[in-house]
Amino acid sequence: MGEKLLMKGNEVIAEAALRAGCRYYFGYPITPQTEIAHYMAKMMPKVNGTFIQAESEVAAINMVYGAASAGARVMTSSSSPGISLKQEGISYASCAELPAVIVNIVRCGPGLGGILPSQGDYFQAVKGGGHGDYKLVVLAPYSVQELYELTVEAFNIADRYRVLAMIMGDGTLGQMMEAVEFRDKEETPDFKKDWALTGTGMNREHNVVTSIYIKPEELEAHNIKLQKKYEQIALNETRVEVYNCDDADIIVAAYGSVARIVKNVIKMAQKEGIKVGLIRPITLWPFPSKAFEKYAQVPKAFLTVELSAGQMVEDVRLAVNGKNNVHFYGRMGGMLPTQKEILDRIKQILK
């Protein structure tokens, strides 16, 4: 490892993208992720890159579509209402198999909602907010260090599989100042993009980037190809942290900033002699179902804690598959669960 710096989460995302070789950023301002755009606006000219403040999130994601078609590493970032607007482009780019990174620093909804932290976009991200059968690789960092590492990883996953990768965080992470240690140099495998639009140079057949297949046989074949690719991704790219689970009485499932709170709850519980484990999905899609299957027989129960009305809990229930009780505790509207609230809920379940 190299340089260690104290940095704000949102800026680390931007810095990580630059270190990963991203030279194109297109975005539209929205709280609480504007620092990403500010950082890009400042840094891109220094590295001969392009920053465009687009006229809308719709335009921004389509600029991403263009730059990715042209073979570049490209990123856009936004927050929930803006991510909703990007869904059209996300569906098209997924079908056209374009690699790119999308950052969603989630805020509360529905509607214009509020600007405080939320995890209410889980369904949109992992179940497909746009039309058709496609998947995003969704990475959910829980520290500033992970914001860096997973952002770099997102670019590599995107290029390796020709998919969109999404970094999902919230305002807590985006605004958090924390130490981050950067590697001296990023190892970027050489992804040969012979499909990209670079001009034929009159010495090859023309390349086409498209998301339309009018013939049903062709569209079905293309869908099958996409699904096979998603299976490969699920096989190779599932990431999870299993913490303190081996002799736990109860296992909490939480991701992102909420998992930080849960880790403190685990310490508090220990003092009272209560054994609590944590399964923290790092990839929300592919979902780490195996980790839940493995611990499905935990003595008492599962508790999923989210900043939502209960979204990831559905995937936890699917993974546990009726072998145990899966409880839920959530806060919404930007309200955060306190450690005490979570511990009380645990005690109530264990009673």
């Binding site: 991403v64 639009l197 034929t200 086409v208 980037v209």
Partner: protein, 248 residues
Amino acid sequence: MAVVFKRPHALKDVSLPYCPGCSHGIIHRLVAEVIDELGVEGEAIGVSSVGCTYNNYLFFNCDMAQAAHGRAPAVATGIKRVHPDHVVFTYQGDGDLAAIGTAEIVHAAARGEKITTIFVNNAIYGMTSGQMAPTTLLGQVTQTTPYGRKPELHGYPIKVCEMLSTLEGAAFVERVSVHDIKNIMNAKKAIKKAFQTQLDKKGFSIVEVLSTCPTNWGLEPVEAIQWLQENMLPAYPLGNFKDKDMEV
């Protein structure tokens, strides 16, 4: 009876799927001839849009992207910023450009994005079978203006060239037509000039081409050409609206 031309290299040797009497085929040919004459096929990247020409990425010999409805100028922006020395063009209809894609075209022009847009104005939505377009003329009957377009109900036609020429970033703006040989020659000149504007890095360039849609106008090809001359030419005057050197 048909005059056999030599096919421009930039156009693939396939038969185009457009209706008899439709202008799209002529316009494709003109774009391809210009690409040939400027010798830029190897550096050209086109963006197809959504409309009757949604799959014209199959017909041009250069690299091509297909964009969502109205978004071609944003897609072209992304491509051009990655390949600033390539020639990037969009091919869009009036529904695509002047309704759902209004924001994208206005801002691509405002940014002075060094791309070229071929804007095909046939005063109707062709592909979805003849609904009102932003460019539909007052009084014109379409599937969604069955009693004619009335200003108090449907507003007024959008004059895209007049509007875009007010933007500093737009360097070349011209409206042409392809209803006869003389106008076809003029159209080709304008398209060539638009591409040259891009090559000279002067800014955004657009050529609006008045076109026929006999199928959805409910006319025979020859009648359609007459209808265009009698109705579209007065509403959409031909000519150059902007030809400026940005480097002042």
